[in-house]
Symmetry: C2
Subunit: 331 residues, 2 copies
Amino acid sequence: MSGFRPTINDVARAAGVSRATASRVVNNAPGASDPMRARVHAVVAELGYQPNETARALASGRRRAVDVIAMTSGAGAGWLGTHPYFSRVLAGMMPVLEGVDAQLRLHPVNRETAADAIEEIAANATLGVVLADATPTLATRLYRRCRRVVSMVPTAASVPGMEADNTGGAYAAVNELHRLGRRRIAAIHGPADNSCAIDRRLGYLRALEDLGLTAVGADGDFHREGGHAAALRLLEQDPGIDAMFVACDLMAAGAVQAITATGRRVPEDVSIIGFDDSIAAVCTNPPLTTMRLPVEEMAAAATRLLLDGKPIAGHRRHFPVELVVRQSTQG
Amino acid sequence: MSGFRPTINDVARAAGVSRATASRVVNNAPGASDPMRARVHAVVAELGYQPNETARALASGRRRAVDVIAMTSGAGAGWLGTHPYFSRVLAGMMPVLEGVDAQLRLHPVNRETAADAIEEIAANATLGVVLADATPTLATRLYRRCRRVVSMVPTAASVPGMEADNTGGAYAAVNELHRLGRRRIAAIHGPADNSCAIDRRLGYLRALEDLGLTAVGADGDFHREGGHAAALRLLEQDPGIDAMFVACDLMAAGAVQAITATGRRVPEDVSIIGFDDSIAAVCTNPPLTTMRLPVEEMAAAATRLLLDGKPIAGHRRHFPVELVVRQSTQG
DNA sequence: TTGAAAGCGCTAACAA
DNA sequence: TTGTTAGCGCTTTCAA
């Protein structure tokens, strides 16, 4: 009952038509009479024929697939699975891909073997590739090979990208904290080599300078543990801190835990504003006031851009980063 | 500089060898002398030749890809992006796929068009397909078409699956709560049509019966909102509740918020045990004691099973669900 | 409207 | 060890 897969030849033979006609019918292409169509359709149903996508792709020269590259640090899945970011980009892509019958290929790429992997992905890309997170070097290299690329994070100038206002978001967050009367506003930053983190740090520093306040910061890792540790360090170093701007919700979740563990209350003693508006923001207690990074919208836009054709060099689409007020800033 | 992609013919011609030899060298297949290898490699490097995977797959009859099916409810991405579960299955699959050069194709499938989609995926599956979440009907239908299928959740008897001890986990959770001296143990269940949720509910009910306690439950949706609402309802209906078993961490996060909002303390007044040990468990405040569902391990095992060949009908691999103690059960 | 025939780029017998 | 020759299953001119 199984093991055998009918080919279009089988369909054609059984229907008593040529392979070309069978192909036309199967593809709903013009140039086949109704009686022919009926015959072929009947056979297709009877045999349970399903076109071989590989052959189809080879023959037609086009295959509809978008590739997603996610960096994995060393062995293992890295961020994926431990950080909400990736599932948000996938979630953003799905709806736009659903209607257009294109498949989504996910490529975990680690820093060590990145060069080769990128080369191969570029060679076999069709609709294009979405860079979930990528270093400028990597993005540039990929873009040179295959122009149908969109990055979700800031990379090189030429590589088309979706650009969220990370700097502006951080700037706004600090100002919100200031508006609430906070004056000792510390920061928990992301990794020093992460482009989003760099922008957010910049926004924080600018805001503090503009407000005439002193910057106090600690570096985190974009994970809960790092946020927890950083908050503890900050509080020890300067017990008078009355607000924290945290560069990602996951770290903010850790910070909230650390702060309450020292006997302080959030938001009464220390107000917190996170960044991302990911699932972590609503899981904390109290829920986090945060700067919303519209990841799903960005991923959807990136996908649509690829679907619509080759994005031009240096293409930019800007996204605002807006304040979402929850309980970590106001009792 | 772009637009042209060298084929293996170009390589062969430039190297002055036959296509077969070029192919052998590129594939590291035996039967080519060192001088030949050197010549071909040089040309490959010079031309920047990259094999066309589609042609390769068609010619060799094998393509290494594993398909992942994730259900999307209606329009949009459904769970993906809003529930940590999916990224965990992807994260579990990545490491095992990384070494073996096989690609991962992600298929969002919605209930309405599921039948057709399944048919096509089955027809083009190669290594096999992993069902992240699937109804028995769907799993059975897919399994009939393509025997290389592994489900991550309980489905039909014949469909190979990774089976976590959901019932035992729930049973153990309730007993832990009882051991801590709790006697009014309520439950927040998952969706009535979700097989995992059904098993967890069963475990809860059995435990309460065995302990001679009265069951009190509310239905949730496996999301934070549902957990929040359910906890509120429960507390209103029976203010004396001193513990809750919540069928998923996301709901538990909502429950913690709801409980503290009523002025009660976690864990002093109400102890909570969640389920999953997802990212949500460590973001809550206090962090959640939970029953660990080893999703990554299960996904990795499922992938390996597919890589090793066709799983036999009814294949089962069992996974324990273990208690992870954090602060929601003990001050 | 239909069919014959030439590939898509590659692998894998089989000969030499 | 090397090259020649068929295809893999399908699409797509081009004639009929």
